[in-house]
Symmetry: C2
Subunit: 380 residues, 2 copies
């Protein structure tokens, strides 16, 4: 029998208790009960974002919250740096262009992280640059950009730092306030273990100040509107009630397990998986800053990575991800964030081993599983 | 014991089977299974919208789809008519202003419907007007605007007709293609019996043509992007998987019951409720075109309608809606659309009777219930 297993970097599996919590009969979105629930969700978001700033929730995919951090900060013709180290970095350019802003593209080789010194130089040369847009984790390559160091660079300039942490937030430690991240964007369907449908954005003082002068059009994604409404525990528009119920359940789950414990577990799953990759004689796609939240693996020469993805999906109903755009066919990607444990990880490793063997790659069968087991055993 | 009853015009109750369908483990948003599901949902939407046009789905509240029909049709400075017969009509003006367009406000007394001749005159006087924005049902007043006649008016002009049918679609017969409605916007949480979170927009040939010249910024709500993606049964961004599963279940439910049967039932519930209002000696808020999808009732002089709403909510957990803005305190509103049947309607009537009596209004107790029962009995 096939059991569907989600081991791609999003959407990740949703805890069954959370799915059932969301199956409760609807309550009214303007009722006192629901307003209390929004209040609890807002507190939970602040904990997860590690911030005292307001964290807004939008009913949309993560892209909606990304777009909101262009539409609410900038004005037509404004210059902004887009750090492009993968598919999601490129999305910043696309959004900036769609809004008639001037993106300054900083192209980073896929698999590498941006050098903060390069951004520092650009900002020093042109003080009219209003924002720096980056990913905490570039999901398409498995690389973490050094957002802490970027915040040091933007701190004393007029530019705000906007961090897309859709895949990163909740997977490992990103203390928004301690690091001074002005804006952090995230989504429900990765480390937060929820179905897609909710997107979040935390807004620091420097961004709030810039917001006041922004003239780009916004309505549904208006921060000003939602700051006012959500500040009173109401959505400006009709809230997706069950998703809020589910999110609160996940926050309870995170609280019960301990956020730091979940980060540590993600780290161990990542180490175990990366040990398996080494045991197979394969390489990571990331040449530096390999993320703990997911691993991108280069397939052997002459193998199409899509065949590995297809093998797992067709034979066993296991979903990992392939590469995107220029990485298509060259890599596959496996998630460690969210509601995925050691045995889910061992399942992925085992399935990939069997696929690699089936596709003619020659290596010692079981070596990856054993390497991972050793890592998992260490912490026992 | 209190049982929460949703009898406000949205969100309406979700069938328990649909809630449980949505509690299934997630599937991957790029899997063949999910793409097949999107295909079925697209077919279902075309049936419900009664159109051959593409119907796009967005993860957002209905407002997002309203906004999309400004951002994707118009360019800065464009003139467009906003028919303002209530709170949702006024939203068109707000969106048009947010996008730097020139709204031509047609103010209609709350409780009345727009006169198509007035729109005809405006369009004849100024052929540069690019669009007419209207509600099929103005939820804040319970009035249906004559969208069929408006389509006759816009047909031979350069203006597209954009109809917000968030509360109307599925509640009664609105044949998009037969009536020639260029763009129809709807949402999941009213007659479609789903939680909030999905918004829809059908796009006819005239609108597709105008879309090509629109220069307003759009990204998440881009029609062009989604027409391309959804045309291949994929969302441009991560789709809210469980909501699609739920929507397909609702479409099956509608198919099993028969769409025309559900419209007829809504009509009967509306008649029964309106008969009760008459029996109480009260008046509808709508002076014409009272919608079958919901009823707005004026409370007796010297009574605050919010007290009726509060009475039902606090005593029995029954949610009806009050009035908004200028109608606040003067009216309450009760829904007949969606997963609400005769006995839910009788419950609303019975609860309102007891509240009216409790609040000191003098009338024959039980008269409303009896009047409604007579209407329900007629069709047996």
């Amino acid at each position: 029998m096939k059991k569907v297993s989600l081991l791609a970097p999003g959407p990740t599996p949703v805890p069954p208790r959370t799915l059932l919590a969301m199956a409760q009969p609807l309550i009214h979105h303007r009722s006192a009960d629901f307003m209390a629930l929004i209040g609890q969700v807002r507190e939970g978001l602040k904990k997860v974002f590690q911030t005292k700033n307001e964290v807004l929730t939008f009913c949309s995919s993560g892209t909606g919250a990304m777009e909101s951090s262009v539409a609410n900060l900038l004005s037509p013709g404004d210059k902004a740096i887009a750090i492009r180290g993968g598919k999601f970095g490129e999305r910043w350019t696309d959004i900036l262009k769609a809004y008639g802003c001037q993106p300054i593209d900083v192209n980073v080789e896929w698999g590498r992280a941006v050098k903060p010194a390069e951004i520092k130089e650009l900002l020093a040369k042109d003080p009219s640059i209003k924002a720096v847009y980056v990913q905490a984790l570039e999901t398409s390559t498995g690389v973490d950009h050094p957002v802490r160091e970027l915040a040091q660079v933007t701190k004393d300039t007029g530019a705000v730092l906007v961090v897309d942490a859709v895949s990163a937030l909740g997977a490992y430690n990103i203390p928004s306030d301690e690091w001074g991240l002005d804006v952090v964007v995230s989504g429900s369907q990765k480390a937060l273990m929820m179905p897609p449908g909710l997107a979040f954005v935390s807004i620091g003082p420097k961004a709030l100040e810039m917001m006041k002068t922004s003239t780009l059009p916004k309505f549904y994604f208006s921060w000003a509107k939602e700051l006012k409404s959500q500040g009173q525990n109401k959505g400006a528009f009709t809230s997706p009630v069950p998703l809020f119920i589910g999110l609160l359940d996940v926050f309870n789950f995170i609280e019960e397990n301990g956020m730091q414990t979940l980060w540590a577990e993600t780290e161990v799953k990542s180490k175990a998986f990366k040990a398996a990759v080494k045991a197979w004689g394969l390489e990571l796609f990331s040449k530096e800053n390999a993320s703990p939240a997911l691993t991108a693996v280069k397939v052997p020469e002459n193998m199409d990575a899509q065949d590995v993805v297809k093998w797992l999906k067709d034979k066993w109903g296991i979903f990992i991800a392939g590469g995107q755009d220029q990485a298509k066919g060259k890599i596959f990607r496996v998630a460690h964030m969210g509601y995925i444990n050691e045995f889910d990880t061992l399942q992925a490793i085992s399935a990939i081993e069997m696929a690699l063997a089936g596709l003619g790659y020659s290596f010692e069968m079981g070596a990856g599983v054993a390497a991972a087991q050793r890592v998992f055993g260490e912490g026992m």
